[in-house]
Symmetry: C2
Subunit: 230 residues, 2 copies
DNA sequence: AGGCGCTTGTGAAGGGGTGCACAAATCGCG
DNA sequence: CGCGATTTGTGCACCCCTTCACAAGCGCCT
């Protein structure tokens, strides 16, 4: 599930420090989750722990990488070499975790030909050829929202079935195509909501605030880590 | 909750096209969610719809912006002006959605003084002064993982209670501080998992694949939009 | 004024994830 | 060889979220 990559990152960190085995609680702390949850997650992959000892770090890394499909180094096509695209093209976190940015594409002729991190920006119309040459497995959209749907359609047309979308819009894709969306402004807005809620609570501790700010507390929880350790 | 910003974005898009009212189903489509879910979400804020008609776009925008605490323009401090930090500093999606990047900070002396998008990079040690001057409300960490915890501690020390963390590590913060994490590599790894699963299923449709790949299907669902429209 | 169609708001059922608590299993030590 | 300490794997209960379905309410047309 979605937590496996986090476990994998924690395992790599533990391996670098020299740990050969980890207890579920140790790994859970490193990944920021509950130990019971971690054990249940890992049990879904099979039994790779030893009771009384813990999990073999190396073995677990291999298993998770296999499940995540990281045994093959996947080729990524990045469409849109604007502000964000530039940063993504130069981000070394991709290479170090099993991905290879195989192509940079843009519709703007003035950007075509530019060289970034050893890769030349090509025109989006070359996508069909590039997709075959590099056997593209994942497409990343870093264009303005107005262009995102068209780019998605082109990616789907050349057989890409996984898309990471940074454009602030909803994409329509056929069945079988997976889309994950990352909207940086939305993350900030969610934090702003928490700020607003905290401010209302401290300002009006007795009344509990207005009806609008007195929303159920659990409402704030989705995917937010709060108050971990000290 | 976490979907409100998505609704807000969809509402702004509808307003630009000239819609004055929206039905729950119309807005749900624009936001990529179920209409019943949307109605239930909005009902938590109060009754702002008219039966038989729908929701008033302008009114709903105001209400959501109020709940999200966007009536005041929040000041953001961005720490770490590397590859990603540069892109974030230049990203205009923040300004257009209620946020103001008020300060750029970095620990590297060679980067201090650099000007990006009209803002001068200042040294991280100036954080206490900057925080007061600009009344910083949210901190964004775009440093390497090794520096992230120290930066988080400094942010907390100057009173920041909301942090957006782009570094691939778990942050420890005191109670009352909210942390949201965005890890670009993890997003790709989740897509890779889906790719791997799809590949296994099509390759071995009869047997259903190995035990490892035959994970429960629902396992794939978290936060992923799949097969929306055509 | 009355009826009809459309849309919201919500009760209830269902499903999935979460965390507790404990049995089963393994290792080390006496 | 046996016992205790330790840790995994999991049954169970709980809670929240999601979704369906429908009653209540509003506007429009006759």
């Amino acid at each position: 599930m979605a937590r496996l990559p986090e476990y994998l990152r924690a395992l790599h960190a533990l391996a670098e420090v020299g740990h050969e085995t980890v207890s579920s609680e140790g790994l859970a702390n490193a990944a920021g989750v509950n130990s019971a949850k971690l054990r249940k997650d890992l049990s879904h992959l099979g039994s790779y722990g030893t009771r009384g000892v813990g999990y073999d770090v190396g073995l677990l890394v291999d298993q998770i990488e296999f499940v995540l499909g990281l045994t093959q180094r996947r080729a990524v096509a990045l469409v849109g070499v604007g502000n964000l695209g530039h940063a993504l093209a130069g981000y070394d976190g991709f290479a170090s975790r099993g991905f290879r940015i195989a192509a940079l594409l843009d519709a703007e002729p003035s950007r075509v030909g530019e060289q970034i991190n050893g890769l030349v920006v090509r025109h989006i119309d070359e996508l069909p050829r590039v997709a075959v040459e590099e056997s593209i497995s994942i497409g990343v959209i870093a264009t303005p929202a107005s262009a995102a749907q068209a780019v998605a359609d082109q990616l789907v047309a050349v057989g890409v079935t996984s898309i990471l979308n940074f454009a602030p819009c909803v994409l329509s894709v056929p069945e079988g195509v997976d889309v994950r969306k990352v909207d940086l402004a939305i993350e900030l807005q969610i934090l702003s909501f928490h700020e607003h809620r905290k401010a209302s609570l401290t300002a009006l501790p007795a009344t509990g605030g207005s009806a609008l700010t007195a929303l159920p507390g659990g409402l704030a929880a989705t995917d937010t880590q709060e108050a971990i350790g000290t």
